[in-house]
Every structure is written in C-alpha cells, then in structure tokens.
C-alpha cells in the first residue's frame, strides 16, 4: 500500500487537544527517493487534473487572448473583417492619459471599501447571530437570506428602483409615516445618495453568501474548545477572537478577498441604475467602464486594456493576502522535509 504523505502540520491550539495517532503512521521521507516521490505525486496529481484541465482550457487560454487583445485595435470593423491590428501600447497610453482612469480607480476604491466593509461585517455578524437563536428562527432567517440571494439581479434592480422612487416609492412612504420628512425625497438626485442605494442593493445581495460561508466555517471549531473557553470565563467577544477566528480565518480572508474582487467588477446593479439616469455617468466604477469601452463603444481592445489594468490593480491590493492564504498551506507542507 502506498505510504500516505503526511504534511507535518505545525500543532495549533485545536490539535493540541486532539490526541495524536500512533507514530507508526508517520513515515520517514528521504529526499533522494525519486520513485517514491513520483508515486506520491501521482494520486494528488490525478485528483487535481480534472479541475486543472477544465480551468486551463476554459480560463487560461481565453485570458491569454484577452491580454493579447489589449494590444490591438479591435472594433466592430476589425472583428468582422478579421483584421488583426496591433497597436502596441496605444490603448494603455490613451487610458493612462485620460482623466477617466484615475477618477474611476478612485471611485471604485471608495465604492469597494464601502461594499466589502459592510458585507463582511454584517455577514459575519449574521453568522454569529444564526448560532445564537433557536432552530426555527434560524431556518426562517436562512430562508429569507436565500430568497434575497437567489433573486436575479435584473429583478432586484427593478424592485429597488421602485422602492426608492421619488414620488411613488414605498421607502418615502414608510419613512414619512414614521415621522421623518421624506415626502418626494429624490434618492437618485445626487451621486452619493444614488450610490448609497446601489451599495445597499449589492450588500443586501452579498450578505447571505458571506453569512452562510462563515456559518459553515464555524462548524470547524470543535465544541470542546468553546467549553474550555467558557470554563475559563472568557467573554463572547474574547471567545470569538481567540477561539473562533483563528480557525475560520482562512475562510474569512478568502471571502474578503473575493468580495473585493467581485465588487470591483460589479456591473449589473450599477448599470441598471445609471443607464437611464444621465447624471450618474459622472461616477463610473471600473467594471462598468470596461463594459462601456468594450461593448457600448465597440472598442474591444480598449476594453481588454481596462480589464488588464483592473486585474493588475486587484493583484496589487489583494496580493499580500493571497500570499498569506497560499503560504499557510505551503509552510506546513515544507516543514516536514
């Protein structure tokens, strides 16, 4: 039977409480044993192959094409006539010399910070809340969240617009009834106000996912750790910080990084609310700008360049965390040899 490979996990608080199995399971791994290494690599390689194959085929190759396109002048004419017109860095140059790039990046930054900050905070909070309430209520809250999460963005955008309509919207109606002066308040009158609605819409749709992921991740924490902490008299906050977070941190960081990535590229919700409302085009996040260049203006080369710039920016912002996420696995694996 092939010797199982055992990454030597640096003992964590969790594992200290878990009895270690008999040491005969641990095998000596000598560096020079090629055949053994190869055979050891065979199983994991086979396991990774389907995912690797699918992604390589469906994403790597198209990504390469996209990058190539960013160095081309590609409009409707060139597309249809199959003319490949390389224009070097011209697309990038025109983007960097335009005022729109800097503005868009800045706006995207503020926008993403708001969306991600709210989503992660509320999402994790709700996950904790789910643990605290009774079973029935938990199912009720969960179903409500799933309903919100599952609603197609096209429908939710329509609904949100209706709810916040100036003269006939429910929001103004309710707020006025509660005593605030919101009759005929124009939520879409200023960019800040309108984008607040967009952010609310996005956060509303994103919280369920984060809440479920974090809630699932809480299951990784053994109950006896909580008992131990309670015996020690730790407050809920201290328990969360000291017991829960260390174990669920990978999921938390992952969700944050992904939220940053997704919100930077968000399109549907922003587009719907800005498309018909002329003034809103003063604030254009990156995801929308990419679309406008590529598809509205039929400048696919420029659109691809915006996409590449977006990727580089996101890499710069999240790179540090990605390194951490990747390294945590690697450090432990390397430690055994």
């Amino acid at each position: 039977m092939a010797a199982p490979t055992l990454p030597n996990l640096a003992p964590t608080r969790t594992q200290r409480l878990v009895p270690t199995p008999p040491s005969e399971v641990r095998h000596n791994q000598t560096k020079g044993n090629w055949r053994r290494t190869a055979r050891r690599q065979l199983l994991p390689l086979l396991l990774v192959l389907p995912a690797l194959g699918l992604l390589g085929f469906m994403t790597l190759y198209p990504l390469g094409r996209l990058i190539a396109t960013s160095f081309q002048n590609l409009g409707a004419f060139q597309l249809i006539q199959h003319k490949v017109q390389w224009n070097g860095l011209a697309n990038y140059r025109s983007l960097f010399t335009s005022t729109e790039l800097g503005t868009s990046v800045l706006q995207t930054f503020v926008f993403v910070t708001a969306c991600v900050g709210l989503t992660m905070t509320i999402g994790t909070g709700v996950a904790l809340l789910l643990r605290r309430i009774g079973n029935v209520l938990r199912i009720v809250v969960s179903v409500c969240m799933v309903l919100a999460w599952a609603m197609p963005t096209s429908a939710s955008s329509v609904i949100w617009t209706w709810l916040f309509e100036q003269e006939y919207g429910v929001a103004n109606d309710l707020l006025t009834q509660l005593g605030f002066h919101f009759t005929d308040h124009n939520w879409f009158g200023s960019e800040i106000s309108a984008y607040s609605i967009i952010v609310a819409n996005i956060v509303w749709g994103a919280v369920p996912f984060v809440a479920f992921m974090m809630y699932s991740s809480f299951t990784l924490v053994p109950r006896d750790l909580y008992e131990a902490a309670a015996i020690d008299g730790a407050s809920p906050a201290a328990t969360f910080r000291g017991v829960t977070m260390p174990i669920v941190r990978p999921i938390f960081v992952l969700m944050t990084v992904l939220s940053i990535i997704w919100d930077a590229n968000v399109f549907n919700q922003v587009w719907y609310l800005t498309e018909g409302n002329a003034q809103m085009l003063n604030v254009i996040p990156l995801g929308v700008w990419q679309y406008i260049e590529a598809f509205s203006n039929n400048e696919y080369g420029l659109g691809a360049a915006v996409a590449v710039i977006t990727i580089l920016l996101l890499l710069a912002v999240t790179g540090y965390y990605i390194r951490i996420m990747v390294r945590t696995g690697q450090v432990k694996a390397a430690a055994r040899t």
């Binding site: 199982p4 055992l6 594992q15 878990v18 199995p21 399971v25 390689l45 396991l47 990774v48 389907p50 995912a51 690797l52 699918l54 085929f57 469906m58 994403t59 790597l60 190759y61 390469g64 094409r65 996209l66 709700v126 809340l129 605290r132 309430i133 079973n135 809250v141 969960s142 179903v143 309903l147 599952a150 609603m151 197609p152 096209s154 609904i159 709810l163 006939y168 919207g169 992921m213 699932s216 299951t219 990784l220 924490v221 053994p222 109950r223 006896d224 309670a230 015996i231 990978p250 999921i251 992952l254 995801g287 915006v306 996409a307 977006t310 996101l314 999240t318 990747v326 696995g329 690697q330």
Partner: protein
Amino acid sequence: MTATVTSMAGKSTARYRTMTWVWRAVAVLFAAVTVFPVYWMVQSAFEPNSEITSLTPSFFPLHFTLHDFVDAIDHTAGVGTAYFWDDARNSLFVVGTAVIVTLVFSFMAAAAISRFRLVGTTAFLVMILVVQMVPGTAMLIPVYLLLNGLHLTDTYLGLILAYSASTLPFTVWALKGFVRGVPIELEEAAMVDGASRLGAFFRILLPLVLPGLISSGIFAFITAWNDFVVANVFMTENFRQTLPVWLYSFSTNTGTDYGGLMAGCTIMSLPVVIFFLIVQRRIVSGLTAGAVTG
C-alpha cells in the same frame, strides 16, 4: 452544533436568556429587511399590471390575480409556442450537472493540494484567483471564441463547461480552507485502521467538509441559475435556452410586462429555495465537534 451553548459555570443564565431574546428580535428585524424586496416582487406577481405600475403602491395586492403567472407560463413572445417548460428543464439539467461537476472536481483538487505537497500548487491557486479578477464581460468574448471553434456553442455541454469553470475557482479555494480546518489526524486514524488514502478522503474528509460543500454548492447553483449573459450568447435556439434568457423576453422594444417579469422571477426562485430547504440542515453538520477520537 446546536445553536445554543448550554449554559455553564461562568455564564449568568438570566442575562444569557435576556440577550437571547434581544438577538431574536434583531434576527427578526434583519429577516424582515432582507426579505422585503423579495416580498415586494412576489406580491407584485399577484397584481395586475395596472396595479404594479400605479402611482400609489400598496403593500398587499388589491386585486389579487393569478393572471401574471398564467401569462408567464404561457408566454410565447413571438416564438409561437410557450417555451417555459423547455427552458425550465434546460436550466435544471445544465445547472444541476454543472454544480455536481464543480463540487466533485473541486473537492478532489482541494483535498489534493491541502493534504499533499504538490508541485505547482502556488501557481495553480494564484492563477484561479487572478481569473476571478477579470471583469465578467471581458472574458466572454475569448471564451465564446474558443467554444465556437470546437462547435460547442448552442450545446448543453458548452454551457455546462462554462458554468463549471466559472464556479470552480471559488469552490476550490473555499474547500481548501475547509479541508485545512479538518485535522489530518482523523484521516490518519482511518488509514491506521486500514483505509486507503483515497478512501480516507471520501469516507472521513468528505463528510466533515460537507458544510463547505453545501455552501459552495448553493453558491454555484445560484450563480449558474441566474446567469443571463453566458446563456444568451451560447444558446440561440429558443427551446434550448435557459430560464434567465426566457425572463428577458418580458422586456420588449415597446415596454416591459412587469406582471410577467415578477411572476417569472418568482417561479425562477422556487427551485433554489427548495434546494436550499433540502440541504440547509447540512450546512451545520455538527460532526466535527466530538467526532475526534483518539
């Protein structure tokens, strides 16, 4: 694990119970706010069109009608025959298959990279994260190009591949985190008892990361289920399309049939909710706590 940690020494029972009621109130408020837009959509689906767009919105349908639902299902939109059932079937088939493919592939990959030191892991992980960074609209052109060259456009297989590929990155990363959270000693214990490495994966590890699988599965399902862009491009024959494309047909050049749109959305949300209700208990498997034996 059950929701409430049983009270023990150090916790004031009365205070704990009070706070529980506070949290329950918060939960109810949160649920109400969260579900309100959905409620609005559903109640609009039971209103006639004139009431939906009326200038005085009401919280409850004043002229309750099932007309919108009947309209939606019988909606022909110029195609000549109602194609709702075909598109519904297509959606279920394509999305269901894609989710299964995604979960299987990513579990295997996550287990492999977390439990073994595999060459190229870093590159693989970074690559799939980078792919997530590309604006969705940008990638579509190259992907379409690729599939077209292989005559996979307007086929179910092409769509399944596209959906799987788009949900795989997140799922691999998420499951990686979950697998890392499961102590390897559990699998080692099983192997000591005679299980193979692969067997340990599927009999020990898999059940323990089930919550992660379920959450990722719901994510994959919802993402693929609601996708319009990809489905619209890849499938042109009306009877081969999926529900989101069908949904867009309520918006025409001459106006939008809001009643049909709301009813259609409500119908579309049903499978997701049903799927969730079936699996929701598994989000909390409760198996880690106390399952660790020496």
